[in-house]
Symmetry: C2
Subunit: 387 residues, 2 copies
């Protein structure tokens, strides 16, 4: 048993996708060759690793190499927003096999929306020739606060009917697998980091769209805080917000002056045709100077809050995502302007402030990663081997 129980830890080495020989693994871990062989046998029996061609030999029979087999199971990953959903099918490494997109209305309540998700998921499995028995799990992002441990939304402001709804239990009526749920910006942070910044132990993902929020990664782990509200950037008070009231009931919130609808409102008062963030983006793309200035100022307002976060958390990377980040460099230029002028030199000497590269797929990639981090953890693999 002693040997088998540590196979889960050995497996973590393979998650980078590299193929390795038994000799390399023995050297990396300090384990005896016979121990390595026994653990690899156990992982092979689970289907998680397999042969991966031969290594160069220094003479004699070339040593065989083994590698992670991410196609051994699949993950359904759903990013559900207020008005649309994207459902993806990925392998265990997060590679997107196929995806389906549909309009939705989160206010239609959980059954209607989740039935729609299940329908898209069923289509995806059928189209890719995979069965529901091959599912390692399902990950879901929702546009509101979620109690991650239970998968239940908690007082979500824009999601009538969803409060305390048992999302995993409902989905499990259709798919007999584990279901993990979190809020959309947390999974976007996971997805962006997994796909592009896996070396960064400290990262902030900031979503600027109809709402403003963030996902906080410290010490390599997504942080949810004591009540699951960590990263709630949108309702921090900013100087320019003085006198502006927010839908949360407070005054001067970042979201009340720098979100898509807030910028649209300001431009519309100035006589421009803008009702929402999309129209603001159209104006920016058309080169309208007032719209460009408004987006840049929103960036400065976001930067005002992020300057404090940089001092407190000293992240290596800040990723700006959400629909308004699609305005190109205008939003990010405003963020950089304030953060770099405000923070201590040591905290910003290596800080990168960048646009989201996962963009529209950050949520789906993150929902997949949330599931794979769980099912491929050392503890879960050891439990599977001992059961």
């Amino acid at each position: 048993m002693g040997t088998l129980t540590r196979a889960g830890e050995l497996f973590q080495i393979f998650r980078d996708g590299q193929a390795r020989t038994r000799a390399e693994l023995a050297e990396m871990t300090g384990l005896a060759r016979s121990t390595v062989a026994a653990r690899l046998d156990a992982l092979t029996a689970l289907g998680l690793i397999g042969p991966a061609g031969e290594a160069l030999s220094s003479g004699g029979r070339p040593p065989s190499r083994v590698a992670f087999k991410p196609a051994s199971a699949v993950i359904l990953a759903a990013d559900i927003g207020a008005t649309h959903m994207l459902v993806g099918l990925t392998d265990l490494s997060g590679r997107l096999i196929d995806e389906r997109r549909a309009g939705t209305d989160i206010a239609g309540g959980p059954e209607v929306v989740l039935d729609q998700m299940v329908e898209l998921a069923t289509q995806l499995l059928a189209a890719s020739g995979r069965s529901s028995g091959e599912l390692a799990g399902i990950g879901i992002g929702l546009p509101g606060p979620v109690e991650h441990s239970s998968g239940k939304p908690t007082n979500p402001p824009i999601m009538p009917g969803w409060d305390r709804f048992d999302v995993p239990g409902y989905i499990q009526g259709s798919f007999d697998t584990q279901v993990l749920v979190d809020n959309d910006v947390n999974i976007m942070a996971l997805g962006e980091r997994a796909a592009f910044w896996s070396e960064a132990q400290d990262l902030l993902f900031v979503k600027v769209a109809t709402g403003i929020g963030s996902g906080v990664v410290c010490g390599g782990l997504l942080q949810r805080g004591a009540d699951g509200t960590a990263g709630d950037l949108g309702h921090i008070r900013v100087p320019r917000g003085s006198g502006v009231f927010c839908r949360c009931g407070n005054e001067g919130c970042l979201e009340a002056i720098a979100s898509g609808p807030a910028i649209a409102r300001a431009l519309s008062k100035a006589g421009l045709p803008a009702v929402d963030g999309e129209e603001v983006l159209s104006l920016v793309r058309a080169g309208n100077v007032q719209a460009i200035q408004a987006i840049r100022q929103a960036g400065r307002d976001v930067g005002d809050v992020l300057a404090t976060c940089v001092s407190m958390l000293n992240p290596a990377v800040i990723v700006i995502g959400g629909s308004l980040a699609a305005a190109g460099e205008h939003l990010i230029a405003g963020v950089r302007e304030v953060v770099y002028s405000r923070s201590l030199p040591l905290a910003t000497s290596r800080l990168q402030i960048v646009q989201s590269r996962a963009a529209g797929e950050a949520g789906v990639l993150g929902a997949s990663r949330m599931v794979s981090d769980h099912v491929l953890s050392a503890a879960r693999i050891d439990a599977a081997l001992n059961s």
Copy 2:
């Protein structure tokens, strides 16, 4: 080997100080009784655990219990400030056996100051009848930024001669043991949490004194950030700081208006006899209304920054320490006033904002904890067993 290597993990169960029977451990861990017995033998051989009296029996020979033996080794823990140092001798559980206090001058340079520390440490060992061979390690807190991985100060503003000085190497000239170094407020956070808030996974420790800084615990771990500057609260810009210049060269820093010297400067302009934080405290204790109002306003300024931290990190506890926290409730009342009015209800519904209880000993307790967390980690114990 498989059995031995997991003894380190089994040991973690004992760090709460509770005595346990073999049967209880088998039930807690799911391990076979024979495996538990082998691991306990290994930990006993290291001196980390030992017999702890008999448990109640349901008939027959009463089962024996084993427990952590924290007195099996000692830790030297030093909290070195700008003008004083406190050196403590603790056991492996952080219990303070004895301590020595002395005035110092950090600007005297590393050799002079560290020689003084070594002298106090030697006295402590002699007085307690312990030898340097019984040392598990030495922990040191310094009043400036430290590269934790190397133990070297990096550009410490008030520590001439210390930049990149090899503190561990110098101390090891006197004591042949491992030496860990961090900045003072990080170890204060560790000490306060270990002594009073071990259940809190998310905690901020804020020091308000000659300088202002904080230690950030997220997900149960002290966070240092990408460049080791996490928690640097003092140079965040606050609204009331507009027009006030800070010694860091920036304008409007929290430290420039809410630190002890800053409050003293403001009171002194108003004709009151205050040159430093100590004199501000004397005025507060004497009931001077202007001084009380100034301390309360400083609390509001600190709260202004902490409101943002609460939204971002959703801590369970904020501990206010440092010499100005000794002003009693005035400073904390100001902090609470702003944090509770500013942050989202969900993030503050269970938040506690409290005065430091470890107070002057937080640093020494934390320096000890930094060492015990390192030497008693599962990985280090397993390494000791396999060597």
